[in-house]
Amino acid sequence: MFSPVAAIAGRELKSYFTTPVAYVFIAAFLGLSGFFTFQISMFYEAGQADLSEFFGWHPWLYLFLVPAVAMRLWAEEKKNGTIELLLTLPVTPLEAVVGKFLAGWALLAAALALTLPTVVTAFVLGDPDPGQVVSGYIGSFFTAGAMLAIGCALSAATSSQVIAFVGTALTCLVFMLSNLPAVQDFIGESGAGLGAALSALSLLGHFEGARRGVVEPAAIIFYLSMIVAWLFATTLILKNTRSG
């Protein structure tokens, strides 16, 4: 089963780098990460070798980077009509979905890896907690994965890249803000069950532990279940499209 997945992933990854678009987005991601960490969070002035602020910005940066990566995955194929071609290959829809997802995730991982200079800077300036750095990257990587899975589903649901982008960003935003007190308030007392439900699915909430150096079992379950659920949804949506 792996070979078709790998083939699709490879093809997708290569297509990212034929145009400068991917580079532009990654450069913007890195530039903003640096700007937010050093200018907004005043990392240098704060005088502490603590990268939790740096990691804290990642979900917000993913809010624009992940939809950009995701929108190309399916919406473009649908627009160009190449989706039919893809699905007639000896590849199950699930394999195609997983393949493209893995390509997108690999790209996000590359962007994440390119943030290492910031970490190196912190190690040169002082003595940060290495365990916190490892868990921060793990949490960030999986947060990106969960958001990307959402993006896959939305990208598969439309042939317009713009709609895919906006839809992904908005949906991710809902999952990010769901545990904030303001939102919980808004839902109010009557929706108590809904409040608890949204809290359990909060992207920011589950990232808290990883930011501080702890890998919580509940967080791992969250990330994996999100990825599985949304990729499953993507497959369903694709099958629906195909039968049409």
């Binding site: 580079y23 890195l30 960490t37 916190q132 699915l201 150096g213 702890v214 659920a229 369903l236």
Partner: protein
């Protein structure tokens, strides 16, 4: 044929499963997260585990958290989650001997009355509701200890606080502190028949009695059994036998809190005609801390206003200590704000402490440490002569230190001449790990320097004027409590300073301080000359000659020039650090993204160049 219904159903099913799985996972909160932090911040320490495993009976932990009312106070809400997690770890590590219950005490309910009865404090939420956030630990016989409000500032010590209270409730009865002092700490009823009035004793003694059993110890008669902590305040003229009993007490693994002083203002007898200083012989040196009873520590940056001989002056040997002078990683000092030390001495920690001993500073002076002769300082009415003897130093002086480990006997292999060893024989090394806290001042514990008395509604109320007594109680509790607690250090993860920046600023400071001092001295000189030359205001008098006026003008110019150069020097000090900051920001915000962009556009440019050529 599209099958939207099945697709829709499938999507709903996926969502439901997603929700279900994660709600179920929510109940796994706190159970064995993978703690990657360097200091193991989120794992229960060995000290806590051993306290939990040696509980004498079952305990109940009640966690009161007004989750509903407090949900807008995000700091508390997120701290509450971590508290829950920690309590769960306690429950698991205790093997079921500790049960945890969580309550949300709504206003005007029985549960709230319970909370108030226990002594919990409530904060007021933005919507004016009381927010309770505390823990009550109850053991056998209804013994209860309470954390009235979980202040997020004290999060690094939550485990220490909890384990300490658990040990108090679930452990043996109140611990006993033995006090030996040349000063009248406990007070006595006096002998009215002989004209000796009763004395009140120190508030310190009252604070300790509230938490411990207090016993007076006469060192000459030896340290009795059953003492969990020995406190020595202002030990004077101890005979070899008395010193030996202290030494062997430490060798038996007993913790010690000793306060010595080169000039104790509280020692009225000593001040009148004897020697107001105290010392612990060579014991402290053998254990790793050297103290000179003839030197008083001073620091101009910590000088306190005092009245001496009727005149208020800022006296540099009356030290007001702030958080910068306290070890923020030490459990005894991390939650304090202000302390007052009066004419203290100082300890020098051995650069190579005795094998098996670790030493830490708990309190120290600031940026302008100096040392004064203690005998000259005794003339308090006019300290100016004493100030002339001020010796400037370049390393801060330690005012309070903690030594932990297994100590070597201060008497070597055998007791001193004519003194019998204890039953069990002379010990040359501590039989187990123990701790010693030594303070170089004793006046900070006296009422005059720690509390003030106010009359309120016909009653005299004692109010603390600083954190001196809090520190004393912290030390007593950390030393006399369960021995495992001594190993529980504060998990103060937030102190990871930029060592590179610190190094740079220290180097720059060294380079420029000499220059700055020279310029300041010159500035003083010029100012003085100007004052000499210029006539006093409002007085007619001989006008200045041409030459004198010219001199005044030159001096004023020189003053302006000196001021300008001083400003430059100060700017230079900061320049190195600012440059580093600029380089760091350039690299991270501009350089790396630019490189990535280049990586993207270069192949494209190359291709178009090739295309044009071809």
């Amino acid at each position: 044929m599209k099958r939207p219904l099945t697709t829709g159903a499938g999507l709903l099913l996926a969502l439901a499963l997603l929700l279900g799985v994660n709600l179920a996972a929510g109940s796994l909160v706190g159970s064995a997260p993978l703690d990657l932090t360097e200091d193991g911040l989120y794992t229960l320490s060995d000290g806590s585990k051993s306290v939990l495993q040696s509980l004498r009976h079952d305990l109940k932990l009640e966690f009161y958290h007004s989750a509903q009312a407090g949900r807008k106070l995000t700091q508390i809400a997120s701290y509450a989650q971590r508290v829950s997690g920690l309590l769960e770890r306690y429950r698991v590590a205790s093997g079921g001997r500790v049960t945890v219950e969580t309550f949300d005490p709504r206003p005007d309910t029985e549960r709230e009355e319970e909370a108030l009865k226990l002594g919990l404090h409530a904060l007021e939420s933005p919507s004016r509701e009381p927010v309770y956030f505390g823990i009550a630990i109850t053991g056998e016989g209804g013994r209860t200890e309470v954390i009235p409000f979980l202040n997020p500032v004290r999060e690094p010590f939550l485990e220490y606080d909890l384990t300490r209270l658990i040990a108090t409730v679930g452990g043996p009865a109140r611990r006993t502190i033995g006090i030996a002092s040349s000063l009248d700490v406990e007070g006595n009823p006096g002998m009215p028949m002989m004209g000796l009035p009763p004395s009140q004793g120190w508030t310190l003694a009252d604070e300790l009695k509230a938490r411990f059993n207090l016993r007076r110890v006469i060192l000459e008669e030896g340290v009795p059994e059953g003492i969990d902590l020995l406190i020595l305040l202002h030990p004077k003229g101890l005979s070899p036998k008395a010193l030996y009993s202290v030494d062997q007490y430490v060798m038996a693994g007993g913790p010690l809190f000793v306060a010595v002083d080169p000039l104790a203002l509280s020692d009225t007898q000593g001040n009148r005609g004897g020697d107001p200083s105290s010392n612990l012989g060579t014991l402290l040196k053998a254990w790793g801390a050297t103290y000179t009873p003839t030197r008083v520590a001073a620091d101009a940056t910590l000088a306190t206003g005092v009245y001496l001989g009727g005149n208020p002056i800022r006296h540099p040997a009356f030290l007001t200590l702030g958080q910068g002078n306290m070890n923020s990683e030490a459990v005894e000092t991390s939650n304090l704000e202000h302390l007052l030390f009066a004419l203290p001495g100082s300890f020098e920690l051995a650069s190579t402490p005795p094998a098996g001993v670790t030493s830490t500073w708990l309190l120290r002076t600031g940026d302008a440490p100096g040392s004064l002769d203690s005998i000259m300082m005794r003339d308090l009415a006019d300290p100016t002569a004493a100030f002339a003897s001020l010796e400037n130093l370049d390393k801060p002086l330690n005012l309070m230190v903690r030594l932990t480990g297994r100590f070597p006997s201060g008497f070597g292999e055998a007791p001193p001449e004519g003194v019998a060893p204890p039953p069990g024989g002379h010990r040359a090394v501590s039989v187990k790990e123990t701790a010693i806290v030594a303070a170089a001042d004793v006046d900070w514990l006296a009422d005059d320097f720690s509390v003030q008395r106010q009359r309120l509604l016909g009653e005299t109320v004692i109010l603390p004027m600083n954190d001196n007594l809090t520190l004393a109680v912290n030390v007593a509790e950390s030393l006399a409590g369960a021995p495992e607690l001594m190993a529980l250090r504060a998990r103060n993860r937030s102190d990871r300073p930029f060592t590179l920046v610190d190094e740079l600023s220290a180097e720059a400071a060294k380079k420029y301080r000499g220059v700055e001092e020279g310029l300041l001295a010159r500035q003083d000189e010029v100012n003085r000359k100007l004052a000499q030359l210029s006539p006093p205001k409002g007085q007619g008098g001989p006008a200045l000659t041409e030459a004198q006026a010219e001199e005044v003008r030159k001096f004023r110019e020189e003053l302006a020039e000196t001021k300008r150069r001083l400003r430059e020097v100060r700017l230079d000090l900061r320049r190195g650090i600012a440059e580093l900051g600029f380089r760091v920001k350039f690299l991270n915000v501009l350089l790396v993204p630019a490189l990535v962009l280049a990586a993207g556009f270069v192949p494209m440019l190359r291709r178009s160049l090739r295309a044009r050529k071809g």
